[in-house]
């Protein structure tokens, strides 16, 4: 029998390298039962690698993993992890898109078998969804591929917390809120606290320092593959966390930028309306940064695609490039190198007659790698060798490097760390000052503060039109919910 205060998971000197990239350089950690353990760090600091080791997806090059006092390093695999009660919610969602919600639940819960499994799977996942995300609006018979990324994330989370024969003793959440809007994120974090108070252990990885500080009992900061700071959450502040991660302390987002005048002077370059009977229409003027706000999945992405496609009824004055947020299904070409993934958006620039000049395309990708800080030895590495946040940076480089007048961004900061976010915000402001127009869908309030004008979406329609000076968190939230809800 193990003592309840003994660590449930103990890592000793765990190391892991991917080719030339050293992802983990000797990490030792203890996780106690009944605690929420926060993990922060830049893109590529090694957080996701560490979690993949814990969940058995990767084998450490050296070091040991103990669960409940038992050394499981040899032969550790996802199946062993699940048997020991270790569950993981991945940043790249791992649901099968062609199966229903209930069928996906069955996959990780093999105990549901025999006649009537479908009914039991429905009950299992449905109850857990109701418990974690009341009012989620997901049917257990929905095909997962048809759900928005936020709802897929909810299903994935509920599936990890659901219990059949193997108990859920440790739940690892890798960027769980990056695809969720603030309301759903709040529900999840409340559930995490309830679960932890019931004796479970949660590892929470997030770039949103507020939710880390507010939810976790202890926090570890990772940098360059190692843990550089580890303390009780009360021992950290937002600024000390940022400092430990090794980036410049965050400056307050540029306050009202005195650019309201653009609306009057600059020509209108985009005018679009969602296909709904009662809606305001969206306008963007040259050089503006226009925010699309609201809860996630309220028609913002559809409007961006409408603008991208120059759809009928939409007036678009210029070429459009898109930054995908759902990078697996909308952005990444998985068989290609980083260079090929970046240059695909601007291939015409590298034509000599009919033929592509690969050297110029590679030089272009190299320049953007430096400019946006993609963590990789060179741009000829496969795109999948990058961590999620660094893949996202490559997608940014693709769109910003493209010869486009208008850039539409579909919640593009998922999985991007604090320091990089600040740099990208600055880049967006520079490009806007040079006359590019941005349409920016985001569910994060901090990002809306970078916008000149904000439109709030609800149920597919635009319900509020707020200039920067009138935009407050309260007004955005107020418009996001129906008056009768």
């Amino acid at each position: 029998m193990t003592n309840p205060s003994d660590p449930i998971i103990r890592l000793r000197g765990v190391e892991k390298s991917f080719g030339a990239v050293r992802a983990l350089a000797g990490v030792s950690l203890d996780l106690a039962p009944g605690e929420c353990f926060g993990l922060v760090g830049h893109n590529g600091a090694g957080k996701s690698t560490l979690m993949n080791l814990l969940s058995g997806n990767l084998r450490p090059d050296s070091g040991s993993i103990e669960i409940g006092g038992q050394d499981v390093t040899a032969g550790y695999s996802p199946q062993v992890a699940v048997r020991h009660g270790v569950r993981c919610v991945y940043q790249e969602l791992s649901l099968c898109p062609n199966l229903t919600v209930a069928e996906n639940a069955r996959i990780t819960h093999p105990a549901i078998a025999g006649i009537g499994w479908r009914r039991r799977a429905r009950a299992l996942i449905g109850e857990m969804l109701d418990r974690v995300f009341p009012g989620h609006g997901i049917s257990t018979d929905d095909v997962t591929g048809d759900l928005s990324i936020a709802r897929r994330q909810m299903v994935e989370i509920a599936r990890a917390f659901a219990v059949t024969e193997a108990e859920a003793r440790v739940v690892i959440l890798d960027e769980p809120t990056s695809s969720l809007d603030s309301v759903a994120a709040g529900k999840l974090l409340a559930h995490v606290r309830r679960y932890v108070e019931g004796g479970g252990t949660v590892v929470l990885i997030s770039h949103l320092l507020g939710e880390i500080l507010g939810t976790c009992d202890r926090i570890a900061v990772m940098r360059d593959g190692g843990v550089v700071a580890l303390d009780a959450a009360s021992g950290f502040t937002r600024n000390s966390l940022v400092a430990a991660m090794g980036s410049v302390a965050e400056t307050a987002p540029a306050a009202a930028r005195g650019r309201a005048a653009l609306r009057d002077s600059a020509p209108k370059v985009v005018e679009a309306r969602p296909a709904r009977p009662e809606t305001l229409s969206l306008a963007a003027h040259k050089g503006e940064v226009v925010g699309l706000a609201g809860l996630s999945g309220q028609g913002q992405t559809e409007l961006l695609v409408q603008v991208f496609d120059h759809a009928a009824g939409t007036q678009v004055g210029g070429k459009v490039a898109l930054v995908a947020g759902d990078r697996q299904s909308d952005g990444i070409f998985p068989l290609w190198s980083i260079s090929q993934n970046i240059s695909i958006g601007s291939l015409r620039q590298f034509l000599n007659g009919f033929l592509l000049d690969h050297d110029r395309a590679d030089a272009f990708a190299e320049k953007w790698k430096e400019r946006i800080g993609i963590r990789t030895p060179d741009v000829f590495q496969p795109i999948l060798s990058l961590s999620g946040g660094n893949q996202q940076k490559a997608l940014f480089a693709r769109a910003l490097g493209a010869p486009a007048d208008i850039i539409v961004m579909d919640d593009p900061m998922r999985g991007v760390d604090v320091g990089t976010k600040q740099e990208v915000y600055a880049m967006i402001r520079d490009e806007a000052a040079r006359g590019r127009t941005f349409l920016w869908y985001t569910t994060e309030m901090d990002e809306l503060r970078n916008c000149d004008h904000v439109y709030v979406f609800r149920e597919g329609a635009i319900v509020a039109d707020l200039p920067r000076a009138e935009m407050t968190e309260e007004r955005v939230l107020h418009a996001s919910f129906r008056a009768d809800a």
Partner: protein
């Protein structure tokens, strides 16, 4: 060391090694007698395989579900119509060639229209359309075999220093296709679409235009192959395309192109085409009966595909 490693990583390597191995095995069995002639024949027949496989490669690279099963019917239709129109007259050869290519293009347009406008999966669209093309060929000349013009027949069987002229022509064609695949916007577009169609659209690639061009290109190459093959074999026969259905796909896959799309290479097509022809020759030489020959052909193709994936094939 790293150069050797790079070579081992080349997707076309296994097809070429396979071709070399079966050729050597045949030569060993016959003590080297006639192995030059075997190679020359392999180059000729391989050239016909490669013409259609080039088109099939671009189609398969478009991604899961994309395949052109109308190649045999298209070859037959282009072959019969052009032979009958030329009627054996040498002066009509340019017109016959143009007609064969035009028929191919029209077949491609039909295929893509079925796929795009009626939203029929490519496998079913091209297979069902091929019944129509095949029937059109039967109706056109009532099954009569019209002889090709003599200069065309001479051209398709000509040799320069022992190397079939048609093989040289197709090597040049393959070089052009290689450049198109690796160094043009079109080639990049095809590979991008094969990896992720939605991402390709959102990266600014004109997906439907490229798909249309690919199906038309594939059918036009099938038309060209039908024209040349009819010239080579003394006229168009209604079953002339038969063996090209499976072999166009086998050559592409053995050559190291991904069946799942998004990854292709041209050198492997030549290696695989030679391999397929030499394999059958080898089994004939060994005196294997028809049944055994087919079983062994199937087994060896499976073996090469597994070897080519280095045992790490992901499902």
């Amino acid at each position: 060391m790293s150069a050797a490693r790079r070579l081992l990583g080349q997707p076309w390597l296994w097809a070429w090694l396979g071709a070399l191995a079966v050729w050597l095995a045949t030569a060993a069995y016959t003590d080297g007698k006639g192995s030059g002639e075997v190679l020359s024949a392999a180059l000729t027949f391989g050239a016909f395989f490669v013409i259609v496989a080039l088109g099939q490669m671009f189609v398969i690279t478009l991604g899961p579900g994309n395949v052109d099963l109308s190649i045999p019917a298209c070859m037959t239709l282009a072959g019969t119509v052009s032979m009958k129109t030329m009627g054996g007259a040498a002066g009509m050869i340019p017109l016959g060639l143009a007609l064969a290519l035009a028929i191919g293009a029209a077949v491609g347009v039909t295929n893509f229209a079925l796929i795009r406008l009626l939203r029929i999966p490519p496998i079913i669209a091209t297979l069902s359309a091929s019944f129509i093309f095949q029937s059109a060929a039967i109706w056109w000349n009532r099954g009569l075999r019209v002889k090709p013009p003599q200069p065309l027949a001479d051209f398709t069987t000509a040799k320069i220093a022992g190397i079939p002229f048609i093989a040289i022509l197709v090597i040049v064609l393959a070089l052009v296709a290689h450049v198109v695949l690796t160094r043009t916007l079109y080639g990049r577009g095809v590979i991008a679409i094969g990896q992720n169609m939605r991402a390709a659209h959102l990266a600014g690639i004109r997906v439907e235009r490229i798909r249309a061009a690919t199906y038309i290109l594939c059918a036009a190459l099938a038309g060209l192959c039908g024209f040349l093959l009819a010239g080579f074999s003394g006229g168009a026969a209604l079953n002339m395309g038969e063996e090209y259905l499976l072999s166009s796909i086998a050559v592409v896959v053995i050559g190291g192109t991904s069946v799942a799309g998004g990854f292709a290479n041209v050198p492997g097509l030549w290696g695989a085409a030679l391999f397929l022809f030499l394999l059958v020759t080898m089994l004939n030489t060994f005196g294997a009966g028809a049944g055994l020959r087919m079983v062994l052909t199937g087994l060896i193709i499976i073996g090469v595909i597994v070897a080519a994936s280095g045992g790490t094939r992901k499902t």
